[in-house]
Assembly symmetry: D3
Homo-oligomer: 228 residues x 6
Amino acid sequence: METESSLLPKLDDLELFEFIRKNLYSAVISDVLDEFGFRCQAMGPEVRPLSKKFVLVGRAKTILWVDVFEVGTDPYASEIAAVDSIKPGEVAVNCTNQSTRNAPWGELMSTATKARGGLGAIVDGLVRDSLGIIKMGFPVFCTGLRPIDSKGRGMVVDCDVPVRVGGVKIQPGDIVFGDNDGVVVVPSECERDVLEQALEKVSRERSSLKELRAGKLLRQVYDKYGVL
Amino acid sequence: METESSLLPKLDDLELFEFIRKNLYSAVISDVLDEFGFRCQAMGPEVRPLSKKFVLVGRAKTILWVDVFEVGTDPYASEIAAVDSIKPGEVAVNCTNQSTRNAPWGELMSTATKARGGLGAIVDGLVRDSLGIIKMGFPVFCTGLRPIDSKGRGMVVDCDVPVRVGGVKIQPGDIVFGDNDGVVVVPSECERDVLEQALEKVSRERSSLKELRAGKLLRQVYDKYGVL
Amino acid sequence: METESSLLPKLDDLELFEFIRKNLYSAVISDVLDEFGFRCQAMGPEVRPLSKKFVLVGRAKTILWVDVFEVGTDPYASEIAAVDSIKPGEVAVNCTNQSTRNAPWGELMSTATKARGGLGAIVDGLVRDSLGIIKMGFPVFCTGLRPIDSKGRGMVVDCDVPVRVGGVKIQPGDIVFGDNDGVVVVPSECERDVLEQALEKVSRERSSLKELRAGKLLRQVYDKYGVL
Amino acid sequence: METESSLLPKLDDLELFEFIRKNLYSAVISDVLDEFGFRCQAMGPEVRPLSKKFVLVGRAKTILWVDVFEVGTDPYASEIAAVDSIKPGEVAVNCTNQSTRNAPWGELMSTATKARGGLGAIVDGLVRDSLGIIKMGFPVFCTGLRPIDSKGRGMVVDCDVPVRVGGVKIQPGDIVFGDNDGVVVVPSECERDVLEQALEKVSRERSSLKELRAGKLLRQVYDKYGVL
Amino acid sequence: METESSLLPKLDDLELFEFIRKNLYSAVISDVLDEFGFRCQAMGPEVRPLSKKFVLVGRAKTILWVDVFEVGTDPYASEIAAVDSIKPGEVAVNCTNQSTRNAPWGELMSTATKARGGLGAIVDGLVRDSLGIIKMGFPVFCTGLRPIDSKGRGMVVDCDVPVRVGGVKIQPGDIVFGDNDGVVVVPSECERDVLEQALEKVSRERSSLKELRAGKLLRQVYDKYGVL
Amino acid sequence: METESSLLPKLDDLELFEFIRKNLYSAVISDVLDEFGFRCQAMGPEVRPLSKKFVLVGRAKTILWVDVFEVGTDPYASEIAAVDSIKPGEVAVNCTNQSTRNAPWGELMSTATKARGGLGAIVDGLVRDSLGIIKMGFPVFCTGLRPIDSKGRGMVVDCDVPVRVGGVKIQPGDIVFGDNDGVVVVPSECERDVLEQALEKVSRERSSLKELRAGKLLRQVYDKYGVL
């Protein structure tokens, strides 16, 4: 499934993320992952961007939370450590096991993450300070909003371990890509091949759209380009 | 319940749909359906437009899907045939039985449908290519978004049969009307009478609003106009 | 937890609501309620504003609904009475026990409420006429939209009694505050102290944000300001 | 669809209920209701008998509940009145609109109902005193168990009105029939015809079973008896 | 609310648990907790005993779990330590935050707990080895069954901390009582008074039942005994 | 992971199924599948046996259903063909995509399946004629009961294709094993090795239990036998 002359230039991580942020979208990446046999890489429809315009690309910095029921001593210690350890090009991928009790992510966490070079955040749970985050233009994806703090409700128990978010297993370092259709996870073992193929598929989709607009039947266009 | 001099001009289907798209809204149609004894014609709140501004009117072209678990030979054959058979004035009404596994509808399907004269799509399931569809201005209603394709996940098993979408039984040819409040289904047996009455009710609602704004009590206004 | 010189001016209710609408947000009020030991005052993520821009403040006028299954005589009598009894500064807080069968609130109810001096509405259920309500700029919070009327589906059984909405117990007269993050309920017994503290916390949050933007670690900033 | 010589003897209500309790079952009644065009008469799978052995037959005495959030004065007044007004041959059909907050039915209510000649109870909600009720042999169907009382949590708002329980609309006086497969509701307008047909279908089912056990193919047996 | 001559003998914990296991039931304890103002002490209907006959009494030994997504080194270490530290008269109260991914409790854990003098287990999640546990007569309450192990799926993160199970906040050392109607939690601060009152209420309930069976109206009996 | 001298005798399929039905249980098979890296083979807790005593073993005969909304001509044709084609040693594994609209399986289907040599049925949906099926001793697993027929509600669309039931992907011919803890699916590629290991693990579990009963700590017993 390799292409001869690559559509994907040689780039470092930060340049790569910017390149694919501008040139790809989640649906085409998902299709190529399917072709490579990775058929469970798209998060469920409950994980939504705070803004329709958000596009998120980066490497997963995984953070595992647990619901707790008392305010401990230094209750934020582990989440502060997690955020302070984020590296440029990373996305905070927070697994709360679908908690709806509190909002572990907000504007302060977003601001701190951005200051470290982080590129966004995903939470399989709730978020607060939504308007502030939107105003920052910092792409946060979550399952809902609630104004309530994590103190005494949720606690970080581990970092940099495999997690499951939106139904997808994520290894630390996997590329995550999110836009208004949702989030896909690209396993690191095939990331370059997948991105290559996706760039190639984008052009076939554009041609299909053009001919459909011109009135061709879907049958004809699909037979010609093989994309749907 | 007929009115003497009709508010509804004699129009062909396409003109009629344009007329009611501009002059009616889902809530007033739902109220009149209630009065005619059709009390289960409003889809549930899970069926949402991709854009607040979308207004959808047309005759239901019903399409029935089933979840599948392998990629068959020519896996898109039946859905391509369904879309290619859409006629002017029709809306693709897709019943997936609330599947959240894949997004059977997207920009290519929307473009192909529009090219056939189709006026929109409803899915009791997921959609992808949301921003592209919004940009087209093609009214699509669905229960969520996910970037993942139907290939090997969903398959069209039948067309032009009764379906249930959003909790409402729909016969092929029923008029469907959707706006930001949701979708109502007008059975063909009473469509003209319902639309007539709805036009008449709109004016009573406008009068009620005006008097309420002027400070009248709801009791007074309701007693006068009989609408709430 | 009292502050010496108050940040909160002496104001009557309507002025107070306008002041806090401009100077506070739900997350900071929730944090202060936590500090006061009121840890269950934030409604769940299912209660959403019709518009991202809506900010809602007022005293709860509670209204209790029950699902019914026939159209009674004068079916709207009790809801009309409820709305007509709303007083300036009040917010209609409708408890339907999470009904999704109908939309008990719409543009006529909003218009009537506004005419009485009401400042908004919360429904733990569905709403209709959403675009009209947004256009009015009348802050309505609900769990979804559906174009279907309450007649023969829902009925007001009581007013001015304790209710539970979005998982929070609300007494008539409690201050409710809603914005894009959700809704918090401030018990009347501690309202002045909570609002004072919240104003004070806002300034600490602003300082934290500024230093985080300047590149300080979250650990440093949290140790200095004690907010997260 | 009438049969010439009736399988159903002329009986008064109490004798009739005892006769059909012994000779029919919910599945065969549901099939015949389907044939008569009443296709939404079987409650959903969430309504379960407290004991596998329970068979329930009687006329619906409908009771409508609402969730409340304070202990009123004489909080049980309306439910006591409802139970005390039950007549011989009736089944208490309690609509709580799927409340899971409390258990409005228990051993005292069952005992009082039985003392009035009541034949059972259905609740689209929770029940308590389950072992006592099972020991009484009083057929109660519900959606779950919880030891918590209705006082200050649920209140009867009306009796002898149409309700919806387990997804089925029930008119006062409809015959309800429940066994381990669930509950069906027989509208009074067709009850005699439905019961007749059901008795007739029972014998065809027995013949089908006998031939299947003897090794005939399902195709052969279905072609012969027309039942599945 | 104290009674003069106590119905509750002076007993040590193990004798007390055996006494109330034989003389009380969850519904009556729940009613008395209501009277004492503790109105949120009954777990939700999802927490069920493995056998109808199970009655569970003991002090809560709380155990907090988190879902994990890899098999760590010595993955069972913390749960083994938790079980080995159970003391006579304790009940293992496992909070998994409603996980349905695995069954953290089974026959080996039950056997080990029993060997330490533990009196039962509650899990707000799944259990396996159900028939073995039933055969042991060891009262286990849970939300479902699944044959799948916790290794690499769930991990104990803490013990002897407040947890929430079945919607009820539980402090280590609270008395938990479970039977076929569900589980109630008696806060230690009022346990003796609650148990006293419950014993007293049992006798009033028996008298009510007797008079109802004799044909008295519910109104009469309630007015006399004040219990429902 | 092979053992030298096999605990599993050489047997034909029917003898094998009887052997493992008597000697294994779902939990131990699930544990061994975990060790082989097949970690998603246990169905979810919603799939339950009709009787606690049911043990089910056989090869999957997969049947795929779709919800439909009208009674077609010969509406049962495909399901009759499916059942009539069942071969000795097979279990009917019905994928309805979690439909709760009707009960596609009942006593007639069970009787016909048994007559063909079928060994049981699994449905990710509802069943009827529960008491008759229990009396037959024919192991049926399902997600609930409802007395309502599939005619015009559900239709078989395919057989002998991969399906997903209870969250597990099943290939035709996979061994399915179900008991009161739930159902596990053994992929055919590793079935002999898995069953071997499971038999070996059973004896280690028995030894663990014995030593725990004798009072050893879980830590000691786990260190010695390595099972939990």
